[in-house]
């Protein structure tokens, strides 16, 4: 069954038809060519496909595209504004928070949602917040440092 949907992705409105069974991750990558959203496991485990729906982090492989109808979607491509990296992106760069980079989009999307509810987290809280994101390169220490730096930059910016 084809459904008409209208979604705002990274500030841009898209209207189109999707099959009911199309996953949001596939819609973003195949229909909108936003391939920054990675598919690691496709079984709701690894978090590489994490995006925001109305500001809340979700694994886009665990949601239907049709469920995003009428929602604001943010993918990793939407983090930077006017060509300036988001503080989270800057921090991952400065603290070497990525090795192969496969898990990085999901890590940053989870972390930006997390810092909204906990802007000044402890190291332990950051580690717990990353429970749903796996890094196969196991670069967790630098990922945690990156998020600590981002928290600092973002609280100083306010």
């Amino acid at each position: 069954m084809a459904n008409k949907i209208s979604v705002t992705v990274n500030g841009k409105q898209y209207t189109g038809e999707v099959e009911s069974r199309t996953l949001l991750s596939d819609y973003l990558r195949e229909d909108l060519s936003l391939t920054g959203t990675h598919i690691g496991c496709d079984t709701s485990s690894c978090g590489a496909c994490t995006i925001h729906i109305d500001g809340k982090a979700v694994k886009s492989c665990t949601m239907l595209a049709v469920q995003a109808d009428g929602c604001e979607v943010t993918t990793v491509e939407g983090l930077a504004t006017n060509g300036n990296l988001h503080p989270m992106q800057e921090s991952f760069k400065e603290e070497h928070g990525l090795q192969c980079g496969f898990c990085t989009p999901g890590m940053m999307m989870t972390a930006t949602d997390f810092l909204k509810t906990n802007p000044n987290p402890s190291e332990q809280e950051i580690r717990e917040a990353l429970e749903g994101n796996f890094c196969r390169c196991t670069g967790y220490h630098n990922i945690v440092r990156s998020i600590q730096l981002a928290a600092k930059k973002m609280s100083e910016a306010v």
């Binding site: 069974r21 982090a57 749903g132």
Partner: protein, 280 residues
């Protein structure tokens, strides 16, 4: 992975959702149990009725003696609710331990109860809280005592065409204490063994107790023999040790690649003791 084809309908009210339910139709809540099963093609309904946009199902209401949680309330909204953290802190504690940030943002309490995964957290916690389930279907509304709700392996008292519209949690009196502890499967955070305890104390001894166990058997259950053995006792290391001996009695203890039957039985003892000692 691509699910089988199905039709999708978005409901805007509970009445509309109920009118759309029928043969070969399934409810879509937060989707965090259902969509994975569709992708694995373990399940292939003809139609999904999406209830996740129904605002009235998301409300958490603070009543005089109880708190009513809408069936569509997410784990994250339960974790963040102030009235629950004041009057039923075990609910807050358990909500924060389900899955991860992403799962908590979309998974709902009604979906978890209807799914009745033998390793889910809510069943044990709701049993210990003495909750009531509010259900609505074509025939109207009914309430089911939580003790009558979980029937077996992925099996509940829900009939076809019924929706869990709410779950009601009694507020705890000041002489009540509660705690939830679980041994997590490290990747998914589902409970390999989870134990929820609510006890009422009077004059230094246990007046009544409710103990919900999950992850152990084919369905969450109350460890009634432990509850009985605790009544009239002061909580001491010795009384706890004696009371928990038969915590798995009546449960068909599961065995899988996470934990053998023997190891699970051992964990059930360790976790019920740990929970009770935290309330000493």
């Amino acid at each position: 992975m691509i699910p089988n084809s199905f039709d999708y309908k978005k409901a805007t009210s509970v009445d509309e959702a109920i009118s759309l339910l029928g043969d070969d139709v399934q409810i879509l809540g937060g989707g965090h149990s259902l969509i994975p099963t569709l992708k694995l093609r373990l399940n292939a309904p003809g139609t999904l009725v999406d209830i996740s946009k129904i605002e009235s199902l998301k409300v958490i209401r603070d009543n005089e003696n109880s708190i009513t949680i809408g069936g569509g309330a997410t784990h994250a909204s339960i974790a963040a609710d102030a009235a629950l953290s004041e009057h039923a802190p075990m609910m807050t504690q358990a909500a924060k331990e389900i899955g991860d940030i992403q799962v908590r943002n979309f998974g709902t309490i009604g979906g978890s109860m209807a799914h009745a995964d033998p390793a889910a957290d809510w069943p044990a916690v709701l049993l210990a809280c003495d909750a009531n389930v509010v259900i609505q279907g074509k025939g109207g509304k009914r309430e089911v005592d939580i003790d009558q709700f979980f029937k077996g392996f992925y099996e509940t008292a829900l009939a076809d065409g019924e929706i869990i519209t709410a779950v009601r949690i009694p507020k705890m009196a000041s002489n009540r204490h509660s705690v939830y502890v679980k041994f997590k499967q490290p990747a998914s955070r589902f409970a390999i063994v989870g134990c929820a305890v609510g006890i009422e104390m009077e004059g230094g001894v246990v007046k009544s107790a409710r103990i919900g166990m999950t992850g152990v058997g084919e369905s969450a259950y109350r460890a009634m023999n432990v509850e009985k053995a605790l009544v009239g006792q002061a909580l001491t290391a010795e009384s706890i040790e004696a009371a928990v001996k038969n915590v798995t009695e009546g449960a068909e203890v599961m065995s899988d690649h996470y934990a053998s039957q023997k190891y699970r039985t051992h964990l059930a003892h360790v976790y019920v003791k740990r929970a009770l000692k935290m309330l000493m």
